[in-house]
Amino acid sequence: MTGYLAFLKKEFFEYTKTFKLFIMLMVFAVFGITNPLTAKLLPEILGSLIPDSVVITLPEPTAYDAWTQFFKNATQIGLLVMVILFSSVLSSELSKGTLINLLTKGLSRTAVILSKYTCMVLLWTTSIALCFGLTYGYTVYLFPKDETSNLLFSVFCLWLFGLFLMAALLFSATLTRSSYGCLLVTGIVVVICMILNIIPAVHRYNPISLSTDNMGLIMNSIKASALYSTIVITCLLSLIFVSLSIVVFRKKQI
């Protein structure tokens, strides 16, 4: 336990000192601010680009557009940035050999994996909370009349998908020695989820639904209860990935 806390502190210190924390927060803060703004301004920008002779009518932007931007940016670019930043979570320590000193001080390998996962989860939680808070504030300000449903639940689903993705990332990191290998295996996991999603029967149990059904939840076209089984499955899979990471890492020759 002392090892876990000490190493967790070191992880935070590292993310702060190497600017990774800063990059994450910046990216998500920029998204947080631009999501509602893009939604609000896009019709005007488009309108100014199209010559006056062409007449097209653009629908009046709503809060839904802002949230569409939020879920698109957070899932596509935000998660990508996060995965890239975290891809060297183990490989840099293994290839440089910085972990050897600490392991030979009596730090358990389980503590390494658990504190790394904890740190990633906390960073992701902070980032998504920041992004959500900013988007929410601006959306309420810019589109005061629009009502959304299941908003928090929808964001929770996205957050949970992030947890799943990071568990997969950590597992990939224990399997491979390089950060590219880690990215590759994580990519394969995501692609498998996407391919499986083609089968309608699997959709309800596929973790990736948590990152694709968000707008449906907000617009009430998908019932929250439809995702309950997915949530259970995702939690289980994340747990399995983290446990497997520990098992594999304990057996790894360093």
Binding site: K9, F13, T98, N101, L103, T104, K105, R109
Partner: protein
């Protein structure tokens, strides 16, 4: 009881068998020189002792506790200095030692006093607030020793601590190790034989996956004493007179003369220096010098790995 006991250790990487039944005992409070060529398996052995590599067969016991691969229980007795110690470049030495101390379970005040004491010992006191990223190799090596000694280990394992350093850096590291001798047992791998002769009281030579030689330096010297003698004469005439003595014309005796110096090797175990002295007194020659040839560590090393 020895601090470190290794029994029948086997390890192969692919088709390459590195260790083939290694047995080794390290008694308490010794500086144990672990010598071998590059690639002989020194680092592999050390990593197995630390539970970082999995042996194919055999057991390692540290302070009476069996080492478990992947676990780190026995590591609380051990301080380890890797051949090229790596640190987090964004930390300064104090921060790094604090992290190590917290992991080793020391209290705050212990960490503070030990860190300052050790940085003083390794001569990094004035650099204690500088980022490790800018450290030279010698400085990293010294910080590595400080880190290894932090939890007052019973066994200090150093993997080629001096190989990459300049002569002054080497001397400094050896002095630090000598200073640590009273408090801990040191196992120290190297292929620089001069370093071994300088500080080690016991050596083991690893060759072909086994210990080819093991014991205290004087024991080994005694055991491998060549029956060789150097005789220096006052003139070349005396030297050639001795060289051509009838008594020495035996197949088990080999002679070589260079000016007025004669080297004699006796292959027959029953013969010793008395025999040569008898020959000298018969010829009525008094040599200027009569010396027994001492084997150097280097000659021993070359002999066992051949």
């Amino acid at each position: 009881m020895g601090v470190l006991e290794i029994r029948q250790l086997y390890k192969r990487f692919g088709h390459h068998e590195v260790l083939k039944g290694l047995d080794m005992d390290v008694p308490e409070h010794s500086i144990f020189g672990f010598v071998g060529q590059n690639g002989a398996g020194k680092t592999t052995t050390m990593k197995i002792i630390l539970g970082l590599l999995k042996p194919d067969n055999g057991s390692v016991t540290v302070c009476g506790e069996k080492v478990e691969y992947g676990g780190s229980g026995t590591n609380r007795h051990i301080g380890y200095l890797p051949d090229v110690p790596e640190f987090y470049g964004y930390m300064d030495p104090m921060e790094y030692l604090k992290l190590c101390g917290e992991i080793a379970g020391l209290t705050k005040s212990q960490i503070k006093s030990r860190s300052e004491e050790l940085l003083e010992l390794v001569g990094l006191k004035e650099h204690r607030k500088k980022k490790i990223g800018g450290f030279s190799r010698g400085m990293k090596q010294r910080l590595g020793i400080a880190q290894a000694l932090l939890n007052e280990p019973k066994l200090l394992i150093c993997d080629e601590p001096t190989s990459a350093l300049d002569p002054i850096g080497r001397k400094e590291i050896l002095d630090i190790l000598l200073a640590a001798k009273g408090k801990t047992t040191i196992v120290f791998s190297t292929h620089i034989l001069a370093d071994v002769e300088k500080i080690c009281d016991r050596i083991a030579v690893l060759h072909g996956g086994k210990l080819a030689l093991c014991g205290t330096l004087s024991e080994i010297r005694e055991r491998h004493r060549l029956h060789g003698f150097i005789l220096e004469f006052g003139s070349e005439k005396e030297a050639s007179c001795f060289e051509n003595a009838e008594e020495l014309k035996q197949p088990s005796i080999s002679l070589s003369r260079n000016g007025s110096t004669v080297k004699v090797f006796l292959a027959d175990g029953d013969m010793d220096g008395h025999f040569l002295l008898d020959v000298l007194s018969q010829k009525h020659i008094v040599p200027l010098k009569f010396a027994v040839m001492e084997p150097t560590l280097e000659s021993l090393f070359v002999e066992v790995i051949r």
